[in-house]
């Protein structure tokens, strides 16, 4: 027995080794192709100059030509993406490394290596320029985050999140800017020329917590929902503050002086930017939801509406210099409940997977490009500046979190403990947004110095904090996310508790949190849902939609695993239904032949269901038993019952129990 297991373990290690070799080999091939292609592009134009001299000789018909310029751009883009994905694949083949080092760190290292390689062969490495980042790489990640934002914990903690995002970021920016200015003046020399406004600009760039980095690290540590939503929500909402501060200080840096009027206008600008962004997002969200109401005949293009409306929301907000991130979040959150009620199950799965896919690719590319830009970019290293920046980032974050929590806890029902505060402070990672904003700076005399400092801070937070946060979470025994799916009982009690607490607030006599939530829900049900959800789904209460989703999931599981598989749970309806005494006497016996016939019908029906799921063409989707589930729900439930019964019949008939009796009960249920 032991010899066999050794062999298997050895084979598995061998297999993994083979996989690793395979991946390394393909990466090498890719790099070689890339280099060859890059160098060939230099040779290509030269061919043209040879033509005039060859005109006297008649060349044969060219069998094989080389024309790289034609496909250069898409080829290189595809090559980069492929490289990124192969790297991602490679990390998961080596289990030990991926458990210690978060993926983001590994990707940056790969970026560094690739950047170094490209520089070594004398090519110019592509930099993470701001158009590419802000218009193409960032939106998928934010849309993915916004669309799947857990709305309930977010709205329950929105006060705390806003305080951290707005006040915390302001504190960070001003504290860092001010202290950096002081340090620069003290240090003298090269740094003395840095004025206060430049320092404040630098502070505003470096102070914002980055959603990409937070997502990348927090995704792997599975921390409890409250902390996750606090840090993540903060990273999303501080975009408005960052946008305003950045433009403010950029303008002032150019002009040189600040007046009180400018200060007041800045505050107004903040409100315009954030509320405007939310409004734009909400409008596009409502439009998207409304459009999805009419897509019942063109199911194939449903996911595209979601993506396009959201992207338009982002771009429209960027046109007016409003907060694009907040607009995207607002669009996703607004659209989601209505779109999910309207679209088919397949479209829902498509939306989910495409969002995850795009955000995954974007994230990978961002980190790799960050590494490449580090190697490529011009650097100006100054020990004092960089070290003070890194230290100050940590210090100001910790001070900010502790101070704000002290104030916030006076207003919270569930207070934040010291452990929570530590995780919130430690999880404030900086990332690619800070780097890109630095890149966007116009030719400022201190630009390279700032860029170097920003890159160092980003590296420090992602590497040091990213790597150590997981063991720290284990060490401090912070509560983890519960892995189990929500059960129907929890859903019932969530609803029950909502109504109970609203009622008790009514008895107490003050309009609290639950009162307003209840009012909003009622407004939503009576007016909004009627407009945005097609058909009779608009009247469906949440409990019923939850139950339907659960039923469908179970039914699909049952059909996919086939009727011979073990069903979850060994308790069935008959254990909880109160027994009816007279049942045994009124059931007539059915013959063996009839039983066979019924069993045959059930089996063929089950096979039919399996076949229908297997094919679809590009333009139509064949009637799928799980499409349009609101119409077929009861039929589906009946079918599920029959599947269950089929299984029981097979098990029971051998034991010689009164199978006919049971069979008859199920096929012709006496009690509804």
């Amino acid at each position: 027995m032991h010899a066999v297991s050794f062999q298997c373990a050895g084979e598995r290690a061998c297999c993994r080794g083979h996989q690793l070799m395979g991946i390394l080999r393909s990466v090498c091939v890719l790099l070689i192709v890339f280099v060859a292609a890059a160098s060939a592009s230099h040779d290509a134009p030269q061919d043209g100059t040879h033509d005039p001299t060859n005109v006297t000789h008649k060349k044969g018909f060219p069998v094989l030509l080389f024309n790289y310029d034609h496909v250069r751009t898409p080829f290189e883009i595809s090559l980069w993406i492929l490289l990124a994905l192969l790297m991602k694949l490679g990390f998961h083949v080596i289990p030990r490394v991926s458990q210690v080092v978060p993926e983001s760190c590994l990707l940056i290292v790969v970026g560094l290596l690739v950047g170094g390689f490209i520089k070594a062969i004398g090519e110019k490495a592509p930099a993470l320029d701001d158009t590419l980042f802000f218009l193409y790489l960032l939106p998928p990640i934010i849309l993915d985050a916004g669309y799947f934002l857990p709305v309930r914990p977010f709205t329950e903690n929105v006060g705390t999140i806003l305080v951290f995002a707005v006040v915390g970021t302001l504190w960070n920016a001003f504290f860092m800017g001010g202290v950096m200015y002081g340090v620069c003046q003290l240090e003298g020399g090269q740094l003395a020329s840095v004025d206060l406004l430049s320092c404040l600009l630098f502070g505003s760039i470096v102070s914002a917590v980055d959603p990409v980095a937070v997502l990348a690290v927090f995704e792997e540590i599975h921390i409890n929902e409250l902390l996750h939503i606090l840090v993540f929500g903060e990273s999303l909402l501080n975009d408005a503050v960052t946008v305003v501060l950045y433009h403010l200080f950029k303008e002032f840096s150019a002009v040189g002086t600040v007046t009180v009027l400018d200060g007041v206008l800045a505050v107004v600008c903040f409100f315009v930017v954030s509320l405007g962004g939310l409004l734009v997002g909400a409008i596009y969200g409502v439009l998207g939801a409304f459009t999805s109401r009419f897509t019942s005949h063109t199911r194939v293009i449903e996911p595209l509406f979601v993506f396009l409306y959201s992207y338009m929301a982002y771009l429209s907000a960027e046109v007016f210099h409003l907060s694009g991130i907040m607009s995207l979040i607002a669009c996703g959150v607004t659209m989601r409940p209505y779109v999910e009620a309207n679209v088919s199950h397949k479209s829902y799965t498509t939306i989910k997977y495409f969002l995850k896919m795009w955000s995954s690719v974007s994230e990978t590319l961002i980190f790799i490009f960050l590494g490449v830009s580090t190697v490529a970019g011009p650097h100006a290293w100054n020990w004092t500046f960089v070290v003070v920046t890194v230290v100050l980032c940590l210090v100001s974050r910790v001070m900010g979190v502790i101070g704000l929590t002290y104030v916030i806890n006076k207003f919270r029902i569930v207070k934040l403990t010291k452990k929570d505060q530590f995780i919130v402070a430690y999880g404030g990672l900086r990332g690619a947004i800070a780097y890109s904003l630095g890149f966007l700076l116009p030719d400022h005399p201190m630009k390279t110095l700032f860029l170097t400092a920003i890159i160092t801070v980003v590296f420090f937070t992602v590497f040091v904090q990213g790597m150590t946060i997981r063991p720290l979470v284990e060490l401090l025994a912070v509560k983890k996310k519960k892995e189990t799916r929500r059960s129907i009982n929890e859903e019932i009690h969530t609803q029950f508790l909502d109504h109970l607490l609203t009622g008790i607030e009514g008895v107490c006599g003050h309009y609290g949190h639950h009162h307003w939530k209840d009012k909003l829900n009622r407004f939503n049900k009576t007016y909004v849902k009627r407009w945005l959800i097609a058909g009779e789904r608009s009247m469906e209460p949440q409990l019923i939609s939850f139950y339907n989703k659960m039923e469908m999931r179970q039914a699909m599981m049952m059909v996919e695993s086939g009727s011979s598989a073990k069903l979850p749970g060994l308790i069935s309806m008959q254990n909880i239904q109160p027994k009816v005494e007279s049942r045994g006497r009124t059931i007539p016996k059915i013959s063996k032949g009839r039983e066979e016939e019924i069993r045959r019908i059930l089996r063929s029906n089950l096979q039919q269901t399996k076949q229908r799921l297997r094919s679809y063409s590009r333009h139509d989707l064949f009637a799928d038993p799980f499409e349009d589930m609101n119409e077929n729900l009861s039929e589906m439930r009946f079918r599920k019952q029959r599947v269950e019964m089929e299984r029981r019949v097979r098990l029971r008939v051998n034991e010689g129990r009164s199978a006919e009796e049971r069979l008859f009960c199920r096929v012709f249920p006496i009690s509804a």
Partner: protein
């Protein structure tokens, strides 16, 4: 200390504060509310709750009102049955179930508070006082929750309640023979069922420390 002299029934407040854990200011405000609801009387009856407009559109309003008159919620051991009218003390005792737990509690005290809140929920479901929630009682709960959806609600309420009971049974009992019958959800099963629910942090409302004059009437 000067502020305390202006509150009426001060010695009574001390006893209540100890029993329920509310602060003096909170008790004062709740007393004002109690007087408002009972029209300056000494006791509250079921009809007095009908004057609260918010409760009228609440689907589980009858259960909420019953909970105030249920002797099991008065923290007297082994008391069952309902009363027709309650005094301020009982009002406060029922309200104290919704007080948020203090941050300085250790795990054991947190467990006690959690059990208390779960017990309150259990009593609300178990309307016949027999210590178990039967299928009929659970069906009634789900029907009430869906009561504003008309006929659609009635059919699926049964299905939902059945699915929920199945889940409880499989979590608590694991495996049952086909002719065994699951009597109902006992308090231990209820506890096990809602283990992940974090009721101690969710079943709270904010009690004001300052008197807000905009009380709804």
């Amino acid at each position: 200390m000067g502020a305390l002299n202006s509150l009426p029934d001060e010695p009574q407040y001390v006893g209540l504060a100890e029993k329920t854990g509310f602060s003096f200011e909170q008790i004062g405000i709740l007393h004002k509310r109690f007087k408002q609801l009972s029209n300056n009387g000494e006791t509250l009856r079921r009809e007095d709750f009908n004057t609260i407009p918010d409760l009228l559109c609440n689907p589980i309003r009858s259960e909420i009102i019953e909970a105030f008159f249920d002797r099991r919620n008065f923290r007297q051991t082994d008391a069952v049955g309902t009363v027709h009218e309650i005094g301020f003390g009982e009002f406060l005792l029922v309200m104290s179930h919704f007080r948020p737990p203090s941050i300085r509690l250790d795990d054991e005290q947190k467990e006690v508070i959690r059990t208390e809140k779960l017990r309150f929920l259990f009593n609300m479901h178990d309307t016949d006082n027999d210590g178990t929630i039967t299928l009929e009682e659970y069906r009634h709960v789900v029907e009430e929750l869906l009561s504003r959806s008309g006929a659609l609600g009635k059919e699926t309420a049964k299905g939902i309640a059945d699915a929920a009971m199945l889940e409880v049974a499989s979590i608590s009992m694991g495996h049952m023979e086909p002719d065994e019958f699951y009597e109902g959800i006992t308090f231990e099963h209820f506890n096990k069922l809602l283990k992940e629910f974090e009721v101690e942090s969710r079943m709270n409302i904010r009690f004001m420390n300052m008197d807000t004059t905009t009380l709804c009437k």
